[in-house]
Symmetry: C2
Subunit: 603 residues, 2 copies
Amino acid sequence: MKKIGFSSVRITGGFWKTKQELIRKTTLYSVYHRFQDTHRFDALKCDWKEKGEYNGHIFWDSDVAKWLESAAYALEFERDAELEKIVDDTVALILKNRDENGYFNSYYLTVDQDQRFTIRDNHELYCAGHLMEAAVAYYHATGKDAFLKAMCRYADYIEKVFMIEKSAAFLTPGHPEIELALVRLYEATGEKRYLALSKYFIDTHGTAQEKLYADTRRHLYNMDEMPIRERSTAEGHSVRALYLMSGAADIAHACQDQELMDACKRVYDNIVNHRMYITGGVGSTYIGEAFTVDYDLPTRTAYAETCAAIALAYYCVRMQKIHESAIYADTLERVIYNGILSGLSMDGKSFFYENPLEIDPAFNDVDKSAVKKSRYPITQRLEVFNCSCCPPNVTRFFLSLGDYLYACNEDTVFVNQYMASEMKVEGLSVTQQTNYPVDGEIRITCEGEKKEIALRIPAWCKKFTVNHPYRMQDGYAWIALQGKTEIILSLDMPVLAMAANPKAHALAGKIAIMRGPVVYCAEGVDNGEDLSSIRLSPDAEFTLGDCEFLLPNLHASALRQKKADGLYAVAGDDYEEIFLKLIPYYAFANRGETEMITWINRK
Amino acid sequence: MKKIGFSSVRITGGFWKTKQELIRKTTLYSVYHRFQDTHRFDALKCDWKEKGEYNGHIFWDSDVAKWLESAAYALEFERDAELEKIVDDTVALILKNRDENGYFNSYYLTVDQDQRFTIRDNHELYCAGHLMEAAVAYYHATGKDAFLKAMCRYADYIEKVFMIEKSAAFLTPGHPEIELALVRLYEATGEKRYLALSKYFIDTHGTAQEKLYADTRRHLYNMDEMPIRERSTAEGHSVRALYLMSGAADIAHACQDQELMDACKRVYDNIVNHRMYITGGVGSTYIGEAFTVDYDLPTRTAYAETCAAIALAYYCVRMQKIHESAIYADTLERVIYNGILSGLSMDGKSFFYENPLEIDPAFNDVDKSAVKKSRYPITQRLEVFNCSCCPPNVTRFFLSLGDYLYACNEDTVFVNQYMASEMKVEGLSVTQQTNYPVDGEIRITCEGEKKEIALRIPAWCKKFTVNHPYRMQDGYAWIALQGKTEIILSLDMPVLAMAANPKAHALAGKIAIMRGPVVYCAEGVDNGEDLSSIRLSPDAEFTLGDCEFLLPNLHASALRQKKADGLYAVAGDDYEEIFLKLIPYYAFANRGETEMITWINRK
C-alpha cells in the first residue's frame, strides 16, 4: 500500500478542519512563543555559556526542528512571508554555525565541544534526524534547498563517522529517530547511501557487536537487549521503541526484507493486543517512560505520553505499507481521536505530556507525609514543559494529518480515514463529504484510473450499508470503479460499552464507553465527586448531547453509591440512580482541575 | 473500665487455645532460633566490632526485649526451667554490661560510645521501653526482680538526662514506646516519678519547645507537627503514631486529663472512620510506613504492618479504660482476627511484615524494564526479617491475649471478647464455653460480687438472643447478676457483604465478605488466575465449607469474565458462572505464591 502524502490531500470541513485551523493559527504560534521565551531559538546562535542567561540543552535542537517541520507544513497550506522569514532566519543560524563537516548540534558546538558522539543517550543523532525531517518538509513546502543540502552534508558526515570509520563511542543512537529521517532524506533526494545508513543502524541495533561497546547502554530501556529481527515484544522507553520500530518498518519495506517485516508485525501485534490503552496510549509506567509487561494497564498512573501515541501512529502508517490490512488504520484512528488529541487543550494552547485514563486530585497528595512522593501525572495542561517534545510533535502530526487518509496500490485506492477532504494525484481524485465522526454518513466521489476503491470498515463498526456491490477483504469493502463513482457509505455508530481482557487486572469489572472511534470519559465538574462510586450498565441507553467539545456528549442513567458516614457498612440498598454525562476523552481537563475516569465500574 | 489482666484469665479451648499453643510451643522458639542465628542475643555481649562477625543494630535490643517479654508470658502459662534459663542468661548479660548509671544499649555501649542520646531517630528510648516492659513481665511471671530493679535504675537515669538536666540532644523519643512502658513500670512499682516522666514526654511531644531542637525531626513522619492535645488525625509512621497515642491514652487515664482524653478520642475516630483497612490494618503507604489521607486505602500496595495492627490493639484497650464503650472492643476484635493474625503463617513459623489486601504476583515485576522498581509487599511469608520487629510483637501480643477479654468497673464485669475461657479475680469468676467464631453460641457463667454483667454485642451482629432480660447501652447488653448466673448468648452470624464508603475510591464498586469478625479473601490456588475478573453479588448465598484453616471456608456462586483473545471487546455475554471459594483472610499465602483479593468486584 503506497502512501498518498498530505500535499495531495486537503481537509475541507468538519471536525478535522476545525482542529487543523486551530493548530495552524494558534498552536503553532503558541509553541513558537513559548520556545522563544525559553530561548530555544536563541540557543542555535551557539554563543551561550554553560551558566549564561540561558542554557541550551542536549535535545533543544529537536524541539526547534519539530517546530520548523510544523511551520513547513503550515507553509504548504498557505505561503506566509512572516512565517517563512522565521524559518529562513532559523535555518540561517544553523547553516552559519555548523562546522566544516556539516555537523550541527547547538549543545556540542557550544559546550562539551570535545565530547561529540561520545555519549549514546545524549540525543545527538535524534536531533540530527529531526533537523533532516524539517529540511525535507521545508524543501517540499517552499522549494528552497539550502537546508536540505546542509542536512545531506550532515548525513554524509554521520555516514563517515558511524558506518565508514566507526569512530564514534557508540554504534547506534540511544534515542532512535535518525533511522526514519534518513529514509525520508533518501526519498527526497534519491541518495541510496542514506537508506543504507539507516539500514545499518537498524541492523546493528541490539546486536552482540553493539554490546561490546562499554557505553551507557541501558538494555531494556533502549530496547536493545536483542537484535530487532529477533523481537516479539515492545520494551523500554515507549517513544524510543516506536521510533525504532518505525525506522525498522521503513527499512523492511524499502528493502523488502521479509525477516524484518515479520519482526515488525510481531511487535505491532504485541502492542495492540497486550500493551495498549483503549485510547491508543502506550507506556504503562513513568519509570523509564516505558512499556512494562502484557496486560499491565493501570489507569491513574498511565504514562501514555503524547509523543508515544504519535510514534504509534508513525508505526501504523509504515506497517500498512508492508501489510495491506485495515488493522493499522483502525489503530491509527483510535490513537488520532484519543491518545494524541488528548495531548492538546481545546483552546490549542496547552498540552499534556502524559495522558492518564484517570485523574483523582484528592489523592494526588497521599504521600504528603513521606520523604519522597509517589508519582502521578499532572492534572492540568501546561503551555510548555522543560522536556517539551510533545507540543511540536502535536503540531507537526496534525498539520500533516492528510498523510493518513488515502493510499493506493497498482489497482486500488484505499480510503483509510474518513474526513471531509479532497485528494488529487495524477490520474486520480477522491472527495469525501461527511460530518464523521459526528455521524457515520460518508459520501465519496472517486474518479480516475484505479480499478477498485477499498473503504475501510472500522473494526468498531458492526453494521454498515453501502450503495454499491462490494466484497470484504482485510477489513476493507472493495468496490469496483466505473468512471466517476459516487458512493454512499453509512457506518452504524452506536454507543458501545467496551470490556478489557480479563488479564488486564486494573480494568477488570469496568467498562469504557466508545462511540465510533471516540473514547469517552466522565469528569467531576459534570458528575460530582467520587466518580469511582458510579456504576454503569453495559446495556445503558445513551442519548447524544450537545457538541460542547465538537463531538456530542453522551448521557445515560447510571447508579452512584449514596453518601455514607462510616467507613464500612453492609452492602445493600446503597446506590441511587443518577444522570451520567460523558464527554470525549480528548476533551478532559479543559475546565480546571477535576476528577476524571475513563473506565467505569460495571453494573 | 478497669482492665482484668491475662494472668487472671485462662483461654481453655477453641480457636484461640489452638493458636496460643502453636505460638507458645512453636512460634516462640522459631523466633528465638532465628534471633540466635542472626546474633541478636550475642549482640548483648557488647564485645563486637563494627565490622565483626556480626554487627549489632540500633534497635536489636528491642527485638530481644520483645522476645523476653513473650518468654515471660509463656512462663506465666507454665514454668519451664530451660526457657527460664535462657531469659536469666540474657538478663545477666544486660545487667553485666550496663554502665554505672544503669544505661543499657548494646549498640551505643559498643560502637558510637560518645553518641548516646544524640540522634532522636535512633531508637534508644524505644529499646529502653521494651526492656522495661520485658522486665515487668518477667517479674510478674517469676517474682525475680533483678531485671525490674535494673530497669528502674535505667528509668531513673533517663529521668535525670531528659527531664531534670535536659542534657540529651533531643527532648522526646523519635520512636515512641517508652511512654507506655513507663506507665507499666509505674503500675508495677508504684513509683510516681515514672508516670511523671511519661507525662513529660507526652506533654512535650510536638511542642514549639521541642521544635527549637535542631535534630533529625521529620515532622509528620514522627507525628510531631503539633502537640498531642491539639491533634485530630493520625499521621506519619503508623507504629510510632499508635505507640505514641497509646502512651497518651495511658496518661490521659492515669491523670484523668480530659483535654488529652478528647484528643485521644478524636484521633481514634479519625483512624477507624477514615484510615483503617477492613482488616484493622493501618498505614496506607510504604513510604514512611505511614498514614496518608482520609479514605486512601489502596489494596495491593497497602502497608498495614503487623506491628501497626498490634499497636492499634494497644490503643483500643487503653481507650476503653477512659471511655466505657464497646466500640474499642469491636475494633480490637477486627484487628485480632484479621490484621494481626494474618502476620503469622498457619504453621507458626513465618511472618508478614506488611499485610496487603491484594497480591498479584504476575504484576509484581511490571517495572522490570526500569532503573528503579515500584514497591509491592512481598508475596510469601519469611521466618525472619532484617527489621524483625513484627515476629516478637506477634508472640508477645498473642501470649497476653487474655488481657483483652474481660474488664470491670465498680458494679459491672464486662465481657469484651468471646473465647472459651476462665477468669478469676478476687470475688469474681466468669467462664465462657463457646466455639466462637465457628458459631455464635456462647455460654457464660458468672459468679461474684458485681451487680451486672455487660456483654459486648459486636457491631457486625444485627440479631442476637440472650436468656435473660437486658438493656442495651454503649454497645453492651447489661444483665443483672443474681448469685451464680448462667447466660446463653446467641449471636446471629450470617455471611455479610461489606461495602466501603464511596470516598474510598480504591474500594469503590467492590465488596468484602465477612462472617462475624472474620474477613475473607479469595486465593488463586483455589479459584484460578485473574481474580479481579470475578464479580460477586452482595446477595450471594454462601455455604460454610470445611475448617481448612480452623474456621469454615465459604462457598458461593459468582461470575467470572470469560477468557478472551483481544485486548478490548464489546461488553456483553462475557461472564460465566463459577463456584467461588473464600478462606479467612488471616490464612492467605500459606500455600505458595498465588493471587489474593479481599475486595471483590460487585455484581
